[in-house]
Every structure is written in structure tokens, then in C-alpha cells.
């Protein structure tokens, strides 16, 4: 499974289950850029989730990536 597929089909449903949202943006070498929206966008401890995502990708896709997390907050929470 590609990293893109993994983000979209394996990680996304789990993140959604907590009101969050993740979108694959790009994979440039080992840098995986993802966009976090929903509850993730304002999560105070998102970095922990990012580390977990890196671990999951390593475990299931056998790839070592560094996640570049982009938060897209809704306008009403962008303060």
C-alpha cells in the first residue's frame, strides 16, 4: 500500500472517529506533508499524534517518514 493510500484509507477513518481530519498533501523523499483539519487543527497535543502516524507508517508501510503537519483551522477558530 502506498503511503498516500495508507493515509487516506487507514489513518483517515481513525482520525475522523475523533472529529479530526487528515489529508495527504505530498510525499517528497521521506517528508510526508499532511493537512490536519477539524478537531486536529486546534489540538494542543497534535505532535503526539504525528509521532504515532510516523510509527504506524513505519510499521505498516515499512517506510520511514518525517511528517510535516499543516494545520488548517476553520476561520472561527483561527485566533
Amino acid at each position: 500500500m502506498t503511503v498516500k493510500n495508507y493515509v487516506e484509507t487507514v489513518l483517515q477513518p481513525k482520525i475522523q472517529g475523533d472529529g479530526g481530519w487528515i489529508e495527504f498533501e505530498s510525499l517528497d523523499g521521506s517528508v510526508l506533508t499532511v493537512v490536519f483539519r477539524g478537531e486536529c487543527s486546534k489540538c494542543l497535543i497534535l505532535h503526539r499524534c504525528v509521532e504515532w502516524i510516523e510509527e504506524q507508517i513505519k510499521q505498516d508501510c515499512h517506510k520511514t517518514v518525517k511528517v510535516n503537519a499543516i494545520r488548517k483551522k476553520p476561520y472561527f477558530q483561527d485566533v
Partner: protein
Amino acid sequence: MAHIKVVRRSMRPEEWTDLRFGWLKRHIYADKYEIDNLMIRDARQVSEMEFEYYSDDYRPLKKGDMYFTPDGTAFIKADVNVPKELQGKELWFSLKTAAEICVKINGKYVGGVDPNRERMLITPYIDDSKTLHFDMMGYNRSKPDDERNPESLSVRGCRQIFEGAYICTVNHAVQDLVWDFELLLDIAKSDLFNEDYRNFLNRELNNAMNFIDFDSEELTGVDEAKKYIDEVVYANTNYKGSGDVALIAHSHLDIAYYWRRIHAVQKNLRTVLIQLRLMDKYPDFKYTHTQPYIYETLEKYYPDVFEELKEKVANGQFEPVGAMYVEPDCNIPTAESLVRQCLYGQQTYERMFGKRVNNAWLPDVFGNSWIMPQILKKSGVEYFVSNKMSTWNDTNRFPHNNFIWKGIDGSSVLACVPPTHFITWNAPSQIQENWEAYIDKDQGGQTMNMFGYGDGGSGCTEEMIELMHRFDKLSVMPKCEHMGGAEFLEKNLKNNSNLETWDGELYLEMHRGTFTTKSNLKRENRRLEYKLRDAEILSLMRKEDNNDEIRALYKKLLVNQFHDILPGSHIHPVYEDAMADYRELNSALDKIIGTGSKYFNTLNFERDALTFIPNKKGTSTRYGVKGNWIVPHIPAMASKSLRATKGDSSWIEIGDRVETPFYSISFNADGSIASLYDKKLDREWVDGDFNKLKIYTDNPGNYDAWDILPNYKDKQIDVKVEEPLELCELDGETATFKTVLTTEKSRWTMLVRVFRQSKGIEVENIVDWQEKHKLAKAEFACNVLTRKALCDTSAGFIERDTHRNTTWQQARFESCHHKWCDLSETDGGVALINDGKYGVGLLENTMSLSLLRATIRPDVTSDMGMHNFCYMIMPHADNAVAAGINNLAFQYNVPLVKSDAEWSLPDFAPLYLQAAKLSENGKMAVIRLSEQNGTRGTIKLDKPVKLLNMLEDVQKEIDTIEYKPFEIITIGIEE
């Protein structure tokens, strides 16, 4: 002298008290023994009781480890030998966590910990072996409303750091003093209490705290501080409060919201366990719990806990409330759905506990339809409770808290709209706030104050009860009385001749977007409501005994009418679950309905409106299906073979104007109508934008899925015409004109149909909707002078003002309607009939039908994608009632079915056959009839029948049905 702002650098005495209060709380636990052999296994819940495990086995869980995963369930276990030094003592299990954890000890679920409480008593489970086997099941779901509990806000998130689990003893002297300080500091900090008393408290709490020596190795002075508070603070009766407040323990549990329905099973388990343990400790504690559906899940999956619950119901501590199966949205479901909420809800309680309840408990629903009082009353419900109108209304203060609510048919229930939120934590300031906000102090009796954490369940805490036990020591507090929900209602509302009456819908001046958000849910719900009706009618006609199957299907629909599912205020997986349920329902109902050689009319009046009949060889297209437009002329509850008439296109002339047998029409390129001249009535119907698609920016803020702001019309976005309107399909019955409209992101195909044999003009919309923060409306400025619009409620119509004279009309800039709305003069008007839309704005001569929204919270992709929906513009002579608009709207929404079954009962005209089913006991046919036009009359029957209530209890025998405006009548017919 110049004023200089002084910035204090030294600590105020109150801050010194607060600081020491924090130190005091660190001494609550006397002994702590860390459980260091915990093991954890991660999983994800995939159905109500199924888990997909991430590993084959458990791994160690140590303090400082990360635990929980997104949407994850963690199973945590340990065998703990109670240390010798703790044996014989009162022991507690302590685990500080942001998660929601159900705790099983020695094979039995016994309690829970969550962000609102970190410990539970374990002494009762310690046997001679002195070994405890812990099995825990935890969930860590984002709970956006935890802003109400600020302590849990900082720890919200999917990945948590494990802070350790302990066996401990509690220093009760310290704990008692902590509760005293919690109580008194809340008053000291609240502007709602007398300033002099607060100064007194600040002084004396400081004095009390001075007894404690925080530098001593063993905290000394605690008993002296407690004694000082008793003798100085509680003994002071110089400051008198006023008020009479009833404290009702309750936990609001959203069946789905920021979590899926499957997760509510364990949220409920945890909530129930915690309340049961509180009942063990505090024999005077009573707790109210709603939603028979959620009781069913406990009974099914955790029967041992359910048996415990039943014992507490029997002893009066655990109180089932709320006759409805779930707490449904009370705007969008039809009358029959609301009847079934009561029928199946009461049936469930009766089976479980041997009794029904006499109240509807709907604290969080987004306004309540005017049709409800009658449905409640005829379902054994005397009392109604709903909080939102008092605290959420954005414009007007709802003028009652305890009152009589009169319904559309004139029947009434006793109602309570408590003055404050349904989630409070029993702080004195919250109780005082409730009393001050209570508007019926002089005639309503006590005011209702609910306490207990909620939304995702959780409920009351030890602290809430301990605080409550101290209230009568404080002369400054209102008089407080802890009681059950039904007890409050009986005590204060029953036979209260002073109550005032509210005659009308309970319109919530907020959450107006929920009539429109997630339009697919609304449309499927509408379709399935009528499909269930058809399935029951046909099953009855064929004498099939499929009550169990139909009841199960109905319940599935009812659960999805929950007030955060059908209104659209939920995360994406909840939407996916609902749509999956709808697909399942659709398929099951198709099987029940079956097929036949003829078309059967399940409506109990002649089907005389032009109807689209699918046919692969048809010459028209609708919803992507080929077929023909036919006037069926099928009598009530009868069947007939239908054949399309072959005709040519001579009925229509298409030039600068389109000439049909009914109209001379001037279309604009975007599908809007510049002129709709009625040839028969000799009048023009258009006076401004008519069938005009308008897309507005829609930025309501944090409550994105819920709200539309009154200024939504401030900014409109450009809608471009990509393909101007032109004829795309023509046969002997209909001509379809097509236009394609676009925005930067979306593509909107509008198909406008005119007919040879119908005055209706149908508009089909095929939309690739990719907007953000937009509201699409179709606007109809009619050449009609009226100050009232009529709106269908599903059980009669409601008149709504179209002016903005007062704040009450101004606040209702968007309201809920069902199948149709209408603007009419006495001799003619324009009706708008829809097949699944509910939101409408009514202003002067304009109806604006809300079509689609594009919200991003709670669901980032809400309403994105393809949509296909229709509405019918129906100009008419006379007013809407005389023009038979309601019957046309039924025909528009209830398709003909293929069946050879035969109806052997009367047609009960002119009442609407709302339902025909086998009785719940299988012994008679139940017929539910609804007067929809505001008329009065009688129907003479051939033979006597039983008059029933909506729970199918026999009231009396009748041979004539006497009906009055908007009445719903249920009868039972024995073979």
C-alpha cells in the same frame, strides 16, 4: 491628581486562600500504592461490541508511557495483590485520565473513571484472596464541549500520557474540608451572591486556612479548620438567600455526535455504572436517565449491569424518564415518527420496568413542533421538559419556564423549560443563576435545575452530591430540594391553576441551519418515513404477521432521528453510519413492499395529480430514470394498470415566451422566471426574482452546522450561466428546459419542467456541490399580498407571519416546514412543494427555500458532492386548503407501488390515513387518521370500532368518528 493604574504585585488574601486550597487537595490521598504491572492492548471499535485489535497480545503500560490512539479503544488489565499495609482499610482505585474508562473487577463491571472523576471505591470487591483482577476498557474521544469542565480541556487529544494507576486510601478529613472549600469558594467568587457575604467568606476562609500547617510533615490543623468553618461560616445566618430550587440529577447522552452510535453503548455503560455506585454510597441520591434505546443496549450487552439498574429502579433511586425511544429532533420527523418514538419508547420501558413514564425529556432538542402536545398526550405523556428555548434563544427571552403548552389541535401538556443549561455541576453559583433566571417565581412553584456532566454521558460526581448535602447549611443559598424528574413535574405543575399558556410551536431562536445541513439525510428520512407507511399498509392488507421486523426497521429510522443525527450536527462517520442504515432500511422495505401487476395507490384519496411513472421505454427523464408523466386517476387505496398516453408536442409553443395550456412564461437564461402569466386565472404570479438560485456566504461561526445568522443575505456570490436555458426534452406531456449554472467551485444543473396536464412547474436540481460556508436558496417573489404564509407540519398547517414587525417575527427569519409552504391571497396563491427540504425563509411576498449548506464543523466535508432533488412550483386558485395543496404534496412524496393487494376497509375520507398497521398485540388493525385541513366533522362507520390512544390502549367503542381541526385519531378494528 492624575490617576495611576496600580498593578498589584503582592498576593491578595483570596489568592493566598486559593493557593493553599490547591495544596490542601494534594493531601486527599493518605496512602498510595502504584499498580506497576498494568498491561495494555490497543484496538478500534468496529461495531457495538466488536473490536479490531492492533496486536495479538498485551504490552506493559508504565507511568509516562503514551496510551490511546485515534478512535481507539484500549484494554488495560492487571492482577493486583493488595499490599499488607493497606489490607483492612477502605481502599480506592485511582487513575487520573482524559479518557472514559469502564472498570471491571474480578470479572464484573463495577465502575468507571473519566475526566470528571479519577477514583472509585474498591473495598467491596476485595475478598479473602486479597487479589483484584482489573480489566478496563477505555475510550479517548475528543469531547469539544469539555470547555464546561476546564480541567479536562488541557488534556484533550487522541494520544495521552499515562499518569499511573493506584490503590489508595482517602484522608476523609481533608476530603471533607476540600468539599467545604469548593462550595464556599464558588460563592465567594460569584457576583450573584451578596457582596458583604462574599467579603465575609473571603475573610473567614482565609482564617480557616490559617489553622492548617502546610509545612508540617503530617498536615495538621485540618480538624480545626473544619470546626472553624462549621462554627463561624455555616453558623452565620445573617445573610438570607431566597428561592426554591429542585435539583434533578441527570446526564445528557448524545447517541451520536463527536462519536458514532456504536460508542454510545459504552458511554452509557460507564455513566450507569458511576451513578449506581453513587446510589450505593448515598441512599438519598436519585438520578434520571433517558432514552429507552440506550437502556436496550445495556440490557443486550451488559445484562448484569442492567439487572443492577433494575434493582435501583425498583427502589426509586434510578429513574427512567422520557417516553420517546431516543431524544429525537422535533422539527423534521413526521407526526407518525413522533408517535412511534412514544409507542416504542413506552413499550420498552413497560417491558423492562413494568411501567410507562408520563414525561417527555428532551433537554437538548432544537425547538419543538406544534404537533407535539397532542402526540404526547395521546401517548400517556402529561409533562414535557426541554431546556433550549430559555438559554439559547438569540433574540427573545422565552416568557415561561413552567407553563401549559397548547398544541396545534388545542390539546395541551404541562411543560417545563428550565431556566439554565441541562449540564451543570451543582455549584452554588449555578443554582443561584437558575433561580435568578426563573421567570415563573410567582406561579410556577419550584424551578428545575439539572446537574450532572453530559453530552457524552458521565453524570454526577461525589462532589456534586457532597455539595448538595451542604446547601442547607448556608442561609445565603436558595432552598434546595433533591428529587426525581417526575416528582418535580407532579409536585409543581400538576393541578397548578396559576400556570400560563403558550399556544404555538416552541421555536428555537438558534440552530436554524439544522433544517438544511446534510440534505441527504433529510431526503432519505422523508422517503423512508413514507416507505415504512407503505410497507405497513401492504403488510396489513396481505395479513402478514411481520410486526417484529417492521418494529426493528422503524426503530432504526427512529434512532437516526436523534437530535444530532438527522439535524446534521455530527462528525463524518456518523453521517456514513446513517446513510448505511438508510440503505439497509430501503432494501428491507422494498422486500416487504414486494411487487405486483398493477399500481396501487396507498393514499386514501384519489390520485389525480400528474405523476412520473418509471418505464424503461418512457419518453421523459426524472432523477436519471426514464418514464412517463401520467395522471393516474387511481381511487383511494385501490390499484390500476397504467398506460402512457401518446401525444405530440402541439400542446406547447416555444418562442420568446413558452405557451402551455396553463401559462405564458418568460424564462431567464438561468432558469429563473421573469413572468408566469396564468391564463386560466388571468393573473401574473411573478413579482421579482422567481425560481432564482441564490448562493449566500454562510459564516455562523463555531456552531457551523447548527446556525444560520440573520445577516446571511449580506453577501451573495456570483452564479454564472454556463449553458443558458434551453429545451432538452419534449413529449406529449412535458417539456424540460435545461440550464447549467456554475460558481468557481460548483456546477448546478437545473431542469425546469412544464406540463400539459398540470399547473405545477417542477424544478429538478443536479448539483456538484463543492462550496465552503455557503447557503444555496431558491427564491420566489410572488405577486401575492399577504402577511401570512402557510407551512405544512406533517399533521396540519401552521400560519407564519411574513412581516418583521416585532422581534418575534424578526427572529424567525428561517423556519421549518414539511412538504409545502404557501403564500396566498383569498382567491389564489403560490405553493412550493418539496421532496425533502425543510428550511424556508418567509419575508413579505417571498419564499426562499433552503437547498444546500456547506459547513465544516463538526464534519469538514458536510454536504460536499453530488445532490439531486426536486421541488414543484404550484400556483393555484383559492387558498392553499381549498386548492388541495396538501393532497398534491402527498402525491408528490408518496410514490405509487406495484401491488395486487386489496384494501377491505373504508377510505376514511376526508381524513388522511397516517398509518395502517397490525396492532402491537397482533389482534387488530390499527388505523391512524389525521385531520390536516383545519376542519371539523364526522365519519359514520359500518360497524363499531375501538377508539385507541397512540399506545394502542382501548379507550372506548365508537361507531362514528368525530374529528376536530388537526386532530389525530387512532382506531382499532377487529376482524
